[in-house]
Amino acid sequence: MTAQKNSRYGMVIDLDACTGCGACMVACAVENNIPPAPESANERTGITWMRVYKVLNGKSFPDTQAVFVPMMCQQCEHHTPCISVCPQKAVELDEESGIVAQIPVRCLGCRYCMTACPYHARYFNWWDPVWPKGMEQTLNPDVAPRMRGVVEKCNFCHGRLQAAKAKAAAEGRIEIRPEEYQPACSDACPTNAIVFGDLNDEQSEVSRMAHQKDSFRLLETLGSEPKVYFQSERPWVHHIAEQDFASPEKETVHG
């Protein structure tokens, strides 16, 4: 058997195509068995591995413009902020896929990784996971629900990758076909704003798009080499993403 080439899974999100419908958010929750919020949960205590932020251009009525920014774990590759801080190796960078994996059963719930993450992509289980009676019948059998007191985050639907690999192996293939592995969010996006694939694969659409002129990553200056790219034709979106503090515009966010 030949050595398998490592993948670097990543995304390119077309911000001009995102309508902010939220299909990705619920699809993610269904796929990953994320429970509905308890009554007292709010925007800062809920669990949304995938979260769509509505970002305004900072101008007031009637010049206001908005862009919807789907945010999830950006799968940082270099100096991954959350990996080095975890005291007990509950976060690992999977060499084969480039996915930053969170191992909830080993997590102590110290939340250090959450303070380390500049993208706020990590979520803590402030409550026990509770589904309304009977609704646990609808849980995805491939993903174990997490317990109270541990941190979790997007893992590019790692379960789907495993399933695709198992299927490929059963068919005697070493490598999986690109269409066999798509995370739930890109699968659910009605406008195909989320393009997912292997950045190492030069043929893939995602690697082609990632190198386009209007592609950018958030907080690139931190040097953490995230694998999620964004695209927009709107100059003001780039302007905000580049955090040009010299600009008088102050952005506000709803999300």
Partner: protein, 723 residues
């Protein structure tokens, strides 16, 4: 025996501790903590089983998206879109993605309930089906003697099963079948303007170059989510100069406005004047399509559209709409230049819709590629003339005339309660809600008849809003209906029986009805079928029998028409002479009300809600409403920061909104996009819609609003203060 000394006891204790530490026990216990903390008994274990894929069609709204259902054993665990689906293009809306949770919703009703309300909470008393029928039969008896009516309001009247309901209701003494406002008002207006009766109209957005949209939630639930997604995707592939331009006209910076190329923020309630302004400029600058001049009432001596719009010059409408005259003129020229241009509208009054329809006519987009196209009707099997005549809308039911009001779930969700309440004859009038979940306005009913929910019953879905071609698909039940749940048709049958009406419907069940229609469709030899499972399109001529067609549809398939209806001749005001006068009156009324402020209520309150914001939704939708700020729950108020500061409000803090009708506590969010002096309050789902306590009566901003059937776009004078 020696007395045990303290020393000995201490030694024993110390020895025990040391001994314990050196035994394997503590390590075992420590090790076990890892297991315990991973497998607490209260953490649900996902049920395992054989994984199968089934195909279905979503019936949560009219869109009818194709659904790929991943099942474990018999239970659906994930719903995703069907790729290459000709209508939904593999996409689903968030509510559809989690539709399979609805059978397990905590507010699910599985037996008939009698509701009484006191002190803001709703008490539920379970009833036996017989008790329910007896109670209702008594009411019908009394209604009959007093001459008032029994009204059934259908929220989704364009389904075949509605015909069954209608047949049953009509058989009752004084029974009236009514429909809630639904679908596309502009399309309905165009129908009234046409020479001959026609089917609904669709918009050929795919080929349009300009869309001017009056507050239709284009990217937020209009049509099918996939269709709009497809258009957006296609647009990115063409050069900037050739792209479709979407102009959005709405007071609020809605999601559709955000996704449009241009947002025109008109003053509350002034959309119609903006439209009239556009019409004025088109006429004045002769930008209309050449054929328009031939239209009878374009510039007739009696009824003249030219005269009608003459007074609405940009300078006149500018102060009313808040849009500069220059902007109005420029927008009009752009529309006329970038044709085909099409005018689309959201839910609105018939009169407003007519103005937009007239704009379409002016722009020459009716019956044109990239314009408004009539779709062919599906074959009907009901031959009774009465049944084919237009059903009454809720507005046509006289106030104070209804003794027994039966509302189905979607009607209860769509129509503000105070509108329904006005129709009731007396305090003793009874409201029955046919509902699967005890949420929203269903809580206002006196009785609840438990009905099947999504994936539990056989339903048909017709052409989505705005579609060019007619389509039909069928959703088959995947989840067993809980005992106690009553199929609405069977409830109505029982009701008729209990009221002493001899049972004689020609069709016995929804399945029977649907099969008969499918048979008629098969015999019409029109269209083709897209099969979800293998993504193949089968022409109807290749289908061997109507049974095979039925099977294709039930197993996951959609029938689509292959051609539209030929273009018709339209009149600006239709053939009904009173239309012109009606329009004049309406405009005068609007002129009076636009910009009116009542003393003490300095703000214009506008409720808003998005598609899927009403009725029952999966508890998992908390991700959008509660765990993120993407969508607004029923208590969310949005205000311009400047206005907020004027009213001493704090971003994120609670406040009290008051109108002449009452008060409500809201949660204030400052939003730069909000027009100053306007207050938007969400009419979205209450917390109870997710999973929380169902006892409390739900507060909704609509109850504070002055509303007609189009409650969502009437600005109500309001005030707000810190809570």
């Amino acid at each position: 025996m020696d007395k045990i000394s303290r020393r000995a006891l201490l030694k024993f204790a110390g020895g025990s501790v040391v001994g314990f530490l050196f035994s394997p026990m503590p390590w075992k216990l420590l090790d076990d903590t890892a297991k315990w903390s991973q497998n607490w008994s209260w953490i649900p274990k996902p049920p395992q089983g054989a994984i199968t894929i089934k195909y279905n069609t979503c019936t949560l709204c009219q869109a009818g998206c194709g659904v790929r259902v991943r099942c474990v054993g018999d239970r659906p665990v994930a719903l995703t879109g069907v790729h290459d689906h000709p209508i939904s293009f593999g996409a689903m809306c968030p509510a559809g993605i989690v539709g399979h949770h609805l059978p397990y919703h905590p507010a699910r009703v599985t037996q008939p309930l009698k509701l009484t309300e006191h002190a803001g909470s709703v008490d539920q008393y379970p009833l036996q089906p017989d008790e329910l029928m007896n109670d209702l039969a008594k009411v019908i008896g009394e209604a009959h003697s007093s001459g008032t009516s029994v009204v059934f309001v259908d929220g989704q009247p364009n389904r075949y099963v509605s015909q069954l309901y209608r047949q049953l209701i009509d058989s009752l003494p004084n029974g009236i079948y009514a429909v809630s406002p639904h679908g596309d008002a502009v399309s309905a207006a165009l129908q009234t303007m046409s020479e001959r009766p026609s089917g609904m109209l669709g918009y050929d957005l795919e080929h349009a170059r300009t869309i001017i949209n009056f507050r239709a939630p284009l990217m937020d639930g209009w049509g099918t989510p996939g269709r709009i997604g497809q258009i957006i995707k296609q647009q990115k592939k063409v050069g900037v100069s050739e792209r479709l331009k979407i102009i959005h006209v709405e007071t609020r910076y809605s999601r559709a406005a955000a996704m449009s190329d241009e947002w025109i923020p008109v003053n509350p309630g002034a959309d119609v004047f903006f439209a009239l302004g556009l019409a004025h400029v088109i006429v004045r600058e002769k930008l209309y399509a050449s054929a328009v001049r031939k239209t009878a009432d374009f510039d007739d001596a009696g009824i003249s559209f030219v005269k009608f719009v003459r007074e609405f010059s940009p300078d006149v409408v500018a102060p009313v709409t808040g849009i500069s005259a220059d902007k109005i003129t420029r927008t009009t020229r752009e529309l006329a230049r970038h044709t085909p241009a099409v005018v689309v509208g959201g839910t609105m009054s018939d009169e407003e819709a007519m103005v937009l329809a007239q704009l379409n006519l002016l722009l020459g987009s009716v019956g044109k590629t990239g314009g408004v196209v009539a779709r062919r009707s599906l074959p009907e099997i009901m031959t009774d003339r009465r049944e084919r005549s237009a059903a009454k809308t809720i507005a046509q039911i006289p106030d104070g005339s209804v003794h027994l009001l039966i509302v189905d779930e979607s009607a209860a969700a769509a129509i503000p309660w105070q509108i329904l309440e006005k129709k009731l004859a007396s305090e003793k009038s009874v409201v029955v809600s046919i509902a699967s979940h005890l949420v929203g306005q269903t809580k206002c009913a006196n009785y609840v008849v438990p009905s099947p929910t999504y994936l539990e019953s056989l339903r048909d879905v017709h052409s989505p809003e705005g579609s060019v071609f007619a389509s039909l698909s069928v959703s088959s039940p995947l989840i067993k209906v809980p005992a106690g749940v009553i199929e609405p048709a069977s409830f109505l049958q029982k009701l008729a029986a209990a009221a002493g009406v001899p049972a004689s419907p020609s069709i016995s069940s929804p399945e029977d009805l649907l099969k008969k229609h499918v048979d008629a469709l098969y015999r019409s030899r029109r269209g083709h079928v897209f099969v979800y499972a293998n993504k193949e399109t089968v022409d109807i001529s290749k289908i061997e029998s109507s049974e095979q067609l039925w099977k294709l549809l039930v197993d996951g398939g959609v029938w689509i028409d292959t051609s539209a209806e030929p273009a018709q001749r339209l009149l600006f005001f239709g053939h009904r002479k009173e239309n012109y006068a009606r329009m004049k009156t309406f405009i005068e009324e609007r002129k009076q009300s636009a910009g009116k402020r009542t003393g003490g209520f300095p703000l214009a309150l506008m409720p808003f809600r998005a598609c899927g914001d009403v009725g029952e939704i999966s508890p998992l939708m908390t991700k959008l409403y509660q765990e993120s700020g993407l969508r607004a729950m029923s208590n969310r108020a949005m205000i311009n920061p400047g206005t907020g500061a004027m009213f001493n409000l704090i971003d994120g803090a609670p406040a009290i909104v008051s109108t002449q009708k009452g008060k409500m506590k809201v949660d204030v969010r400052f939003d730069e996009s909000v027009m100053p002096s306007v207050l938007f309050v969400s009419a979205g789902p209450d917390k109870a819609c997710f999973n929380h306590s169902t006892a409390a009566k739900e507060e909704n901003i609509l109850l504070l609003c002055e509303c007609d059937t189009d409650s969502l776009h009437c600005a109500t004078p309001a005030n707000i203060q810190k809570a």
